[in-house]
Every structure is written in C-alpha cells, then in structure tokens.
Amino acid sequence: MSRIGVFVCHCGENIAATVDCARVAEISSSIPGVVHSVDYKYMCSDPGQNLIKQAIQEKKLTGVVVAACSPRMHEPTFRRACAEAGLNGFLCEMANIREHCSWVHEKGEETTRKAADLVRILVEKVKRNRALRPIQVPVTKTALVLGGGIAGIQASLDIANAGQKVILVERGPSIGGHMAQLSETFPTLDCSQCILTPRMVEVAQHPNITLLTYSELESLDGFIGNFKARIRKKARKVDEKLCTGCAICMQKCPQKKIPSEFNAGIGTRTAIYVPFPQAVPNKPVIDTENCRYFKTGKCGICQKLCPAQAVRFDQEDEIIEVDVGAIVCATGFDVVNTDFFPEYGYGLYPDVITGLQFERLASASGPTLGEIRRPSDGKVPETVVFLACAGSRDRAKGIEYCSKICCMYTAKHAMLYRHKVHTGKAYVFYMDIRAGGKMYDEFVRRAIEEDGALYIRGRVSTIYERDGKLIVKGADTLLGGEPIEIKADMVVLATAAVANPGAEELAQKLHVSYDAHNFFAEAHPKLRPVETNTAGIYLAGACQAPKDIPESVAQASGAASKVCGLFSQDQLSREPLIASVHRTAPPLYSICTGCFLCESVCPYRAIERETITTRDGKPIKTVARVNPGLCQGCGTCVAVCRVKAIDLDGYSNSQLYAEVRALA
C-alpha cells in the first residue's frame, strides 16, 4: 500500500509568485495514495528538510515527492534527507514546478493547474519506485600513462608522487617527446633539455613508475577501475639489463646515413642507435628495416664488439599484460612536412624546412651543433624568411584550426636566428599574432623591437629557386597591399600541428571519441577538459588539441588529480539508475531472446553476453547482461529491445507509462 508524502516548495518568490502553492498541496492531498501534503517556503533549508524527515517517521511514508526546483539542483539534497530519516533515497522524486512551470508561465489558474498535474504524475511514478543501492565497483590502483612526452612525464610523476603506481608506455626508444627536440622554449628561452632531462631521470628512477619504452598498447579491455591492458614491448635487439650505454656499437655501425627521426630528417643516424645522447633509457635499439644484418645477413659488428655482449639479434617482441584502474592518454602530436605544400615546392627544395627542423639546427645537440646552416650547402644563411600559418587556418588544405604554438615559436626562431647570425635578416610573414599566454606578447614584442625581426602581414603565394636563392613571393597587406618579393637563403615554414600517426587506431583501441582531425575528444570542451566520454580514461597534452608546454603540464597535472581522486577509494560508488535484463525462474530464465540488438546500440559497450547454464554447466541459453560498472543509464537498449526484456531502474517502462496515463 502506498503512503506518499507531497511537499510543495514556495522557493521564496520563485514559485510562489506565479503558482498558488497552498492550493497545489491541497489538490495533491486528494490523490489516491497520498497521505501527507504540505507546502513550505524553502524546502531545501534545514527546517524544510526536517519537515520531510518528521513526516517520513510519523506517517510511515513509503515514498516522497518534493515539488520544487530542478532535480539537477537539489535531488541529492532531498535523497540524503530521506535516507537520513530511514527511507531509501531512490524512493524520493522531485517534480520540477520551477523551471518547467513557474519560471515559464504567467500567474494564473492554468499555471497552478499545471503544477498540480506535474505533482500528480510524479506521485504515480513514485508509487512504482523500487529501493535501490549504489553500485560498488573495485578499483585497481595502478595507472597506465600512454606517451612519454612532457605531458606523460608530468602525469606519471604526479600520480607516482601521490603514492600510486604508474606504468608509463612510450612508443619510441626514449621518453622526452617533442620537448626534447627543442632548442630553447618560449617565453623564457630556457634550454629545453636542461629543464626536461631532470624530469626524465626522475621518471626512470621513481620507485612507483615502471617505464616501458619502445612499447605500444596492443589492446585494452575492461572498464573504469578494472582495465586489462596488453602492451607490446617491441624487440630492441639489445638486452637492456646487460647494456652499459658505452655506445661502441653506434660508433662502429657501418650503416650511417639513415635519416634521423629525432633530427626531423635533417641529420642522420646509424642502424643501431640511441636517438639522442641524453635519452632515457640510454640503451640502443636496432632499426631492423635499415640494418645490414637484418636485410642481408652480413655484418653483425655491433654484436661482435659489444663488451657486455648485450646485442641479441634473436630477441622477440614481448606481450605484457597488466591490470590498471585508469588510463592517461598523453600521446602528443606531429607536424606536417614540407611536401604538403605544392606552392612551396612539394618538399623538393632542401632549404625550405619546417619549424621542427629549424629547432634541430638551432639546438646545440643537433646536426650542425647549434649553428644555423643551410641543409643544401652548409652555408650560413644571410636572409631567412619565416612563414607563419603554413597549412593551419586553411580550409583549402583541410586544416581549419589554429595550431596555437606557431606564432610563439616563429618569434622565438627569428630571435634565435638573429642571436646567432648578427648580420642576418629575419622576415616573418604572418596573418595574426596569437600570443595569449603569460609574458607571451612581451616576448613577441622583444623579437620585433629588440632583435629586429621584420614582421610583414601577408601570406606567401609561392616559393621557387633561382640562382641559388629562394624567391619568396608574398604580399604586404598592412602597408598598401603591395606584392613583396624576397630573395631568401632559407625559408622556415611553421607547419600545422596534426595528430600523431596511429592516433585513430589508438582511439579505437581505447574506445575514446576523436574528431575529424584525429584529436581525442574531451568530455566537455569547457568544464571537463581532461576527461573523455569513456569513464576512467583521461587526456593530457597535445593529443587532445595543439597546445604549448605550460598548458600540457597543467592538463597533465589535472588528469593526474582525476586519477588520484579515482584511486582515493578502494571502491567506486556509482548511481544505480542503470539498465537491467529481465530474469525469472526456470524454465523461462529470461524473456530475453538473445538477439543482442542492445549490444550493438550501446554507446558505452556496457552489454555483455551471459550464458545461463544448469548446475552441471550445460548451457541453456545466452542472454544479455548489463555491466553495472559501465552502464550510464541512457536507455537506448530499452528503446530497441523488441521483447521489452531490458528495462531501466528508476525510469522503468511501467513508471513512465504511469506518468503518461496520469495526465490523461
């Protein structure tokens, strides 16, 4: 037998100004099943809540309807109040007579009637509510961080320093990411590796961090707090435990002219190599595609000469399985190459380079040891033209977004060039100057005013080579709209930042949303920038969108704090408003026919298959089962189920039909 209590709130003037609350309470008292119906000025206040608690105890209520504001505001408040009075919180419902009634209508009889109707349908619903318990899901307190750039490093350190375990997986032979390739960072012109390498070493030595380099995520299963990851540790062909880092193998390797990835293609490396001298771990890797031994069977010098006998040609890839509770995706970005630009020569002019390649020229550990020299003939360029927005903000090139970091690093490059070549001329062709961070605009001003970079507002239509010079044809749109032609020795394109190769495949492995440009999607662009729509997977750094170092670090710490929040409990508590599949006694067991249409439409992969068996294990039928850890209660499965075998707790079919019928 239902004993429902109705509590109508005035909400000060918010509801009372247009709705006659006393009358609504009076009308509600005559609904069959309602044994208590009152109104009060502020239901959410202490005395208001006490009214509810007293009524529950005195009148032995079996359900409560609070007619007030939106449940998005105070549903937790009233559920807690009921629970404190001994009534299960999920037997309390709110009728929204504020946002749905008093705030959108004029004062009058009709408005009061509507409010009474809203109360009535909620009463009919609450009569059919069941007492529910929050779902507890265990949490594995190990985090998996994918990507060893600055974002991945920061996230790993934050989580590890909070006392939790971290597994850091990096695809390349060393951690460090793009930050390790930079020469100096804006706006302080700090030496990039000087500020990065201490953190890299900290990661390697931290007792809570397991570093897996030259490794990639093979597959991922499970759900928040309970992921199962399989990681492929690619074969370095070198035994890391034996290698001492003496580098004799690299000195003696006869295959010397392979374009170096770390040097963005303008330097070379050997087939057995460590990407850069400060690599962590400082253990070499054999590039089997370019190694003489692996291509022809001849050579093997590195193995012969290694004093620690660490070279192992027969080493195989290893699959490691780990249980983790949360994942931080920090896989970073890439830049577009010069061959992307037909108007700038299809990548055929060696002296037209990308911003990243210029960093390597400027870097003291680069192929020219920090001297700015032309890749074609090694001469020092006297005139360098920098093109901002090369590819970005260009619908015709398919990259409509702004790559964010280029205005700043172009100013930096102009400054570095001028610092190193005092007589050189630096021109920058720009569309806008985007320098929004702290001390950023001052930095650009310094490039222009102190270091003499010549900024021209306009774009470059074409670059061609003539008599050893690069003819840059652009326009000066600020001072008269005149065409401008510059005879340059070198051209640096600030090419667009794009998602890393393999980003799409990784997103699909993680089951994380991504956009048309393969950047991973955050849960909400404003208020949830470090979470994804997949519970338990967080984002850090440029894999979400192009961003600079301070933002990547901040986002990484944000992701780390989410992970630590998740790990702060042993069990994860979730709202039980989820779907469940009908189960009943044998011989039917369930009206589910096993068509699994629900499985195919569930956006959260929350439906599993369950085989019902006899005591001896003989299978009877396979039915659907909802994973309580993953289900978000969206109701899509309920809509498609052809036999109505699946239903949503708290919004069941019978509850909703009752609400609709109450209005008729």
Binding site: P342, E343, Y346, T462, Y464, E465, R466, I471
Partner: protein, 295 residues
C-alpha cells in the same frame, strides 16, 4: 577517335595557326574533328567581367548546339574558351536558379551532358589510341611548358592535372622527344585580356616569364592558349621595351610542336605566322635559339 570541336573566335582569327596545327596533327593521328555548327563566341573574359548571366548564356548556347551533334565530348583548344565552357557546365549544374534563367533565355534544349575537354588530354588520349602514329622527327629541344592560368585553375572546376607545377603538357612533350625543363613560371599569369587596356602590365608580366624560361636554358616556350601566345609573341617588342633587353626565345603552340614531331611541315603548322622566328626549331636539332625578333 571522334570528337566535337569548338575552335572559338581566336582560332579563326589571330590564332589561326593553332587551328591549322591542330588539324594537321588530327589528320595524322586519326582524330576526327566534328566542328559544332554555327557556333558563337563564348564571351571570354568580357562577358565574365560584365554580366554573370551572359557569361553563362553564351557558353550554354554552344553546349546546346554540341548536344545536337550527338557527340558526347567537346574539344576546346583555347584555354579561355575551355575554362568558360567547363565553368558554365559546373555552375549550371550547381545553381538551379541560374540554370532556369539560362534555359529560359536560350529557348533551346540543354541537358548538360557534354564533357568539355582540353587539347592536352585529348592529344594524349588520341596518341595512345592511334596505332599508326610514328614520331618521325623527335622534337629534341629543351622546352618550357607554359600552362597559364586557365587550364588548371580553379582545380575544383576543371579537375585537371595539378594547379601547382602541372605535368600534363610536360609529359606530352616528352612523348614527342622533347626535354621539358623545370621552371618557376609555369602557371603565372601573362596579363590575359589586359593586352589592349594595360599593355605595359602585360609586357611586365611576360618579360618575367620569358626571362625565367630563357635563363633556365629553354629553347622554346610551349603554350596552349591563344591569349598567352599573343602576349608572349605578338607583344614581343613591347616586352623588350619594358624590360630594356632582347628576348630571343620563340613561343609555339603545343600542337605545332607535336605536328613537327609527326612530320608536318612548318607551312602546314602555320609556323610562319608568328612574330618571333621559329625557324631554327624546324631543323629538329637542339640548339640555343639565336633568332632576333622580326622588326
């Protein structure tokens, strides 16, 4: 191979050697040209500049007449006519209001089924199809292939070759034995219809084109546009006046170069109609041209 043929006003007038050389080549490679009966001017850049509907209506009449011939493909050698016709097909397909308006004005049936093709793609196809074609006198010269603006732009409309550093003419020239050079002014504008109203501008633009071609060692500039040819050849003395120096490099139509390779005579190909002497080229030897422009 049979194809409908729209010569356009220039090919019957100031660029008649383009028409002559095209027919000479067509005869030798089994290309049957079916001239569109009673064709009108396409309006060129003038209609395009002054009236949008007119710029679509004039080409539309040509397309309607072509449909009546029953031949599906239309060869348009002049780059400007080619661009106008293919743009009109594109626009009429995309814009229903304009389509209705043009149909109403024309009073003729127009189904937009004609495929507008340029001389480069048609020659390539015809040469490939023809079994009996022999290159009797390989055109072994260094050539600067000049595409101009209208053959490859806008790419979304013409869908032909690549807008930056195109290769179709270069490849065609290679098949007849020439050595196309890599140069920087392949698709730079010659000044086009400004030839009367802004002659000094045309002269300036053309001087840069010729300068680059000559500096990179080309023996001849090959073109497929009567306007470009007129600006680079007919206006040679104006160009030399603006540049303050002589330019000896001759300018030929692609059909003339192909014609020579196929064994046609200079007369047949209208080579004597140019302002800048092409004679040394007919010898078939690779030599730096030292001819001086005729007074």
């Amino acid at each position: 191979m049979r194809i409908a043929y729209f010569p356009g006003c220039s090919l019957t007038g100031s660029a008649r050697e383009f028409d002559e050389s095209l027919r000479a080549v067509a005869r030798r490679i089994g290309l049957n040209l079916v001239e569109v009966p009673d064709w009108n001017c396409c309006g060129a850049s003038s209609a395009h500049a002054l009236d949008h509907v007119l710029s679509a209506a004039l080409p539309a009449r040509i397309l309607a007449l072509t449909e009546r011939t029953g031949v599906g493909d239309l060869l348009v050698p002049c780059s400007a006519c080619y661009n106008r016709l293919i743009s009109t097909v594109h626009e009429l397909k995309e814009n229903p209001t304009l389509r209705a308006e043009v149909r109403r004005l024309l009073g003729m049936e127009l189904h937009l089924t004609v495929r507008v093709r340029n001389v480069l793609e048609v020659l390539k196809e015809a040469l490939e199809e023809s079994n009996s074609t022999k290159i009797v006198a390989p055109f072994s010269h260094k050539v600067a292939c000049y595409y101009g603006c209208l053959l490859v732009r806008p790419h979304k409309v013409v869908g032909f070759d690549r807008p930056e550093n195109p290769q179709s003419m270069d490849e065609l020239m290679r098949t007849v034995g020439a050595e196309p050079i890599h140069w920087a002014f392949k698709v730079e504008c010659c000044g086009a219809g400004m030839t009367l109203a802004r002659t000094e501008l045309v002269a300036r633009l053309c001087s840069r084109i010729l300068d680059d071609a000559q500096a990179r060692g080309a023996d001849v500039v090959i073109t497929a546009c009567p306007m470009c040819h007129a600006n680079l050849d007919m206006r040679r003395s104006d160009i030399e006046a603006v540049a303050g120096r002589r330019f000896s490099i001759p300018v030929m139509y692609v059909t003339q170069a192909v014609g020579l390779a196929l064994g046609a005579t200079a007369r047949e190909l209208g080579l004597d109609r140019h302002m800048v002497d092409c004679q040394l080229l007919t010898a078939g030897a690779s030599k730096a041209s030292t001819a001086i422009s005729q007074p």
